[in-house]
Symmetry: C2
Subunit: 330 residues, 2 copies
């Protein structure tokens, strides 16, 4: 039997779309894919909207990420942003810009990954629209939309005396990235494929780190839970705990003081991004939802936006794509 796996350049837009739609969950929206726009319910009269893009090179490598991983990650990073507002994700729109040599099976696997991430992280959320274009560089831009049962939780509501709490991992995905560069590159630093044998040779901890780098697992359901529990501020930790905490501190005009014994001193844990943990603050009287752990306290604004046991953090704080990405080095 011959298995046909054409390139997208050999198919019409309609044929590619049909292959994608066959892999996605049924629409949960008032009107799903197929018209000029999707129609989505917002029973509370307000909704949240965010977009995040994965670009081949800075954000993923095809030697390391298969289509499933890519679809999963593109969904997960956006679902985390919706959750960080205290909202429940309801719909994704997916813009795929692909070289015309891309295999149809790869596109189908992206669809599988999008679906699996929604089912695992945000049941009830589905891909409700999108766009296909030709591009020399593979780009996946996902818009995530969500509904709010209560007021949105912003970055700017942290108040002195509040408890700082985290849900989810910090530093695990960054450890996975280090593993990719140390174990899965050739002598010139070029990414090489991850063989099953190489995967088996990793420790359990390293295997988890690799998995979390390729398929992040943000605690999406804990976003609305934090909102219900009265969170005063919340955000997604995408660029590193200290860097993102400093953004919350500046937005709230406070200092965030972490307990060293809670956050440790592993630079990866303090500055590694891409886990998409939720960083939140709660009034002292709040009961933290299960899954959140207290890691410090909000103080009056001081000289440094973020301190650890009262001392400014002097390490690398996190990732800036324009400062840190060197396309020559890769």
């Amino acid at each position: 039997m011959t298995v046909s796996d054409p390139t997208v350049g050999e198919l019409s837009e309609g044929e590619i779309l049909a292959r994608i739609l066959a892999r996605l969950s049924p629409s949960r929206a008032l009107l799903g894919p197929g018209d000029d726009a999707a129609v989505i319910a917002a029973p509370s009269g307000r909704f949240v909207a965010t977009v995040d893009t994965l670009v081949h090179g800075p954000d993923f490598r095809l030697a390391w990420s298969n289509g499933f991983d890519l679809g999963w990650k593109a969904a997960a990073v956006n679902l985390a942003d919706v959750a960080a507002m205290g909202a429940r994700p309801t719909a994704l729109l997916v813009a795929l810009a692909m070289p015309d040599a891309t295999r149809a099976s790869f596109v189908e696997h992206i669809a599988d990954g999008l679906r699996a991430a929604c089912e695992a992280l945000a049941p009830g959320c589905a891909v409700e629209g999108g766009d296909l274009t030709v591009s020399d560089t593979l780009v996946v831009a996902v818009t995530a939309l969500g509904v709010l049962d209560a007021a949105a939780v912003t970055r700017s509501g942290a108040r002195p005396g509040d408890i700082i709490a985290i849900a989810g991992d910090t530093g695990v995905a960054a450890r996975g990235l280090d593993l990719l560069f140390s174990h899965f590159t050739d002598a010139s630093g070029t990414p090489i494929a991850i063989s099953p044998a190489a995967l088996r040779s990793l420790s359990d901890e390293d295997g988890t780190a690799l998995s979390r780098q390729l398929r992040p697992f943000p605690p999406v359901a804990l976003g609305p839970a934090a909102a219900s529990a009265g969170a005063s501020a919340m955000m997604d930790v995408s660029d590193g705990l200290v860097l993102d905490a400093s953004r919350m501190a500046v937005a709230s005009t406070v200092t965030l003081d972490f307990d060293r014994q809670c956050v440790g001193d592993d630079p990866l844990s303090l500055s590694g991004g891409e886990d998409h943990a939720l960083l939140a603050t709660f009034p002292p009287s709040a009961v933290l939802p299960e899954g959140f752990r207290a890691v410090g306290a909000v103080r009056d604004v001081g000289a440094a936006p973020v301190t650890i046991d009262g001392e400014p953090y002097d390490g690398e704080s996190g990732w800036d794509p324009y400062r840190d990405w060197d396309s020559a080095r890769g």
Copy 2:
């Protein structure tokens, strides 16, 4: 005086963002740019959402489009999709993936174009969020969001006996594209810049066509007007009148029969895309909103989805990016 125009690779993400935000309209949303997600009102408890991507190469050339044109077009094509549902655009999210050699001024001009298009086509709509990434290929993915005062107008509601009507141009942007290839390429077919002298040498009609290709002017306000007037089906003509009409016909299980004396026989007008006219159907009793012109009638489904004076159209029907785009030819 030295005018500094750094590349985006020389700036931090925050610095680029600050330059963009300084050019945009003030937020009209419940919560605008700066948090994990925007918060947008949807008073009727439902909203529409769509995404469309412009990629350097297939969708625009930097020799022909400046940053302003690019921002304008990226907004306009998406605003048209919102309008085509009968909705009023309220917010854009803009994902910009740019080579790090991109000049900051170019990015600022994209922001200017986004703002100008919103102000001209959809007053009240503003950029409320986005994402910046590094990419070898310049990609602009815009998500447009809109609110519905009444039920959404889909492609599938056309009924035999309905009037077919169009608002906006057909074939003008395609004529502009032909002009670009015929007047503004060198002997090898490579795009060359449009000089002021060359622009002045164009006829008024050609100048308009060029302008409409680079900065489409869809009749966005007529989308909600059509919905209020009872439109039974509506869509945005992005890929060519006959091709898009055939999609509406298939979705509605009808045949769309155009009057030759209304639509003419210019192949550009029948198959040229990118004007983003609105194609709608109305019950025979409806009063067409000013700006719509009647061009035919909906018939019981026949052998061909689209006919002109009862005869199937035998020309090229429109544009398919995967069939029609040849990256070697450009």
